[in-house]
Symmetry: C2
Subunit: 340 residues, 2 copies
DNA sequence: ACTGGCACTCTATCCGCGGGAGTGCCAACA
DNA sequence: TGTTGGCACTCCCGCGGATAGAGTGCCAGT
């Protein structure tokens, strides 16, 4: 049996009221607060159906109804008109971002901005190395046998690693290494570099082979293996809004999950679709986050996507508003990156 | 009236029991769990005195006693023998730190280690720029009018900033700038650099003056103004141990405080004394942390101190154990830095 | 100076009891 | 067939009172 329009309207009303009041909502209160044009009894019938279909449930017999995860899902998919940002919010974004100086700055400001606007926990991933290109590689002698390898990407990220050389290396040789490495790798996507690095070693003059091999191994580590993604987090204090009622009693599991970068990356790192994604409660694979929802989006200059960002909050959240904000911020950050 | 030895012993017993059980401790339970050699009645008299002096208090008439902040303070100052780390803990530290690759790695591992060992929130400050020296400055052309300034310090920190030049700059000029800047600044303590940077501009040939001034302003920002300290945080989930009983009801203020880097730096950034410092409850100037204690210590290669680290937990914490751990980890990190 | 005894206080817990909100069902109606 | 008003029912929540228990303060005795 499919749900007719009024039943959907009832679901919407339930979700909206529950999100606002945080209390189970009953049939009488519903008809009072919304112009449904029908009596409580009718609404009750609709509710019975909605409950049977799994979209709402009652905490105990004879209490009001509460949306289930499936209910929120339906609400998000079919009942949400993305509400445009208020001018105040637009201005907040603008104001927050004036005078950014570098990538770190952008990321930190963005994550705070998101947390503040949505009043939830915000996560921003640094532009993924895998999706960046090498802009420049620099070799800085630290001692006679040590080099500092500094890599700068087109997205503004700077990574550095220490290289222990097999033996002392005169400055001219460092210079030569630097030149060859840049010649070969500059401009290349990081994902494409491994074979190039190998070539670099192969094409090297035998007497330099040792040094180059050593450098190459660290290069590979930096470029690929250790291309651990970085991210920034803000707004954890927002978890305590609404008491401990959300998150079924303890923040513990949520805080634990937030400490695991791997988990966070999974949450916001789904970069395929350019659209905003919402994961509600049980839809999260992470057990610790079964009582949380995540709204995330990819961002990047133009249409390409170089990283993800998003917010995490209770399933009982203002989805339309949150989605709009996340989307707007993602777009803004993308534009900002495009300017560099 | 001064407290005799037995009264102090009673205080110690109260603190230890309360820390363990999290419940107000009564006279009878005390004599049962500790060999005090006197009767409950005697202990009661001692307790009355201790209460009068402000070291303990009862939540309500006819409940057990609970240490006050002053009680903890006395306990820490006069009743604590630092207990040596267990071999297991020593081994944990060693194992945690094998194979560190760079400074970021050291800091991240350290903060996780601390959180794990103390089961509390851990904070580690990156080596303070103000206390570091310039090892090398690198200028990388990004476009014709943009340079990336990369600074490497002797403590392993790498900072970068974008420099917008007034006009296009040929590679040779970049080279020259790089040479001059390094000549003047390499090896200097960051704190000493501002006048040197000024000199750099003054001594510059007039036709280069514009470029150099531009670079200098960014340099100053990087070296001084924006030498915001960085830090790492871990173990927030530990705040939820012991329910919400600690922290008088909500984690909110604590989580808020933990989001403010400035606050955290104040907490662990008191670098004067080489010894471990303990701040208990009200001793924290930050209102949000009135129900928390902070154990912190400076660290650095040898006797010098380049940064701070510490943990934050409820006033009801295991001070002897925590102090020992913080101290041990600080020393270990110092040794690690000394090796570079 | 310490101890045992005793009366007192206060809290936490359980119980029972409405009040109230909300439901489900049914019969009536358009 | 879909909607409505009515009604009995269920269950949570909050309240007051009684009780048990833990712990204290005080006092008299050693």
């Amino acid at each position: 049996m499919s749900l007719d329009d009024r039943k959907l309207e009832v679901l919407r009303a339930i979700v909206e009221d529950y999100v606002e009041t945080q209390e189970p909502v009953g049939s009488k209160a519903l008809v009072e607060r919304h112009q449904l044009g029908v009596s409580p009894a009718t609404v009750r019938n609709d509710m019975a159906v909605l409950e049977e279909e799994g979209y709402i449930r009652q905490p105990h017999t004879s209490a009001g109804r509460v949306p289930t995860d499936a209910g929120y899902r339906l609400f998000v998919d079919r009942l949400t008109r993305i509400k445009p940002l208020s001018p105040a919010e637009r201005r907040a974004i603008e104001r927050f971002m004036v005078g950014v100086v570098d990538l770190d700055d952008v990321v930190h400001r963005t994550v705070r901005l998101l947390a503040q606007l949505t009043r939830q926990v915000a996560v921003v991933q640094y532009p993924s190395l895998a999706r960046s290109s090498v802009r420049h590689l620099e070799l800085v002698p630290i001692s006679t046998t040590r080099l500092m390898l500094v890599m700068i990407t087109d997205t503004g990220r700077v990574e550095q690693r220490l290289v222990e050389m097999p033996g002392p290396l005169p400055p001219d040789d460092v210079w030569e290494l630097r030149r060859r490495v840049n010649e070969k790798l500059a401009g290349e996507k990081l994902a494409d570099t491994p074979p190039l690095v190998q070539k670099l070693v192969d094409e090297c003059a035998p007497e330099r082979r040792g040094d180059m091999a050593c450098l190459a191994s660290v290069l590979l580590e930096t470029l690929v293996e250790r291309s651990e993604e970085r991210l920034a987090l803000a707004g954890t204090a927002n978890l305590t809004r609404g008491g401990v009622l959300d998150f079924q009693g303890t923040l513990r599991p949520v805080l634990e999950a937030l400490e695991e970068e791997v988990i966070l990356l999974k949450l916001i790192g789904d970069l395929e679709p350019s659209t905003t994604r919402v994961r509600i409660g049980d839809e999260n694979e992470i057990d610790n986050l079964r009582s949380a929802s995540v709204v995330s989006s990819g961002y990047g200059p133009g249409a390409t996507i170089v990283g993800g960002l998003g917010v995490l909050g209770p399933t009982r959240m203002d989805y339309p508003g949150t989605i709009a904000t996340v989307r707007a911020v993602a777009r803004y950050v993308g534009d900002l990156l495009a300017q560099n």
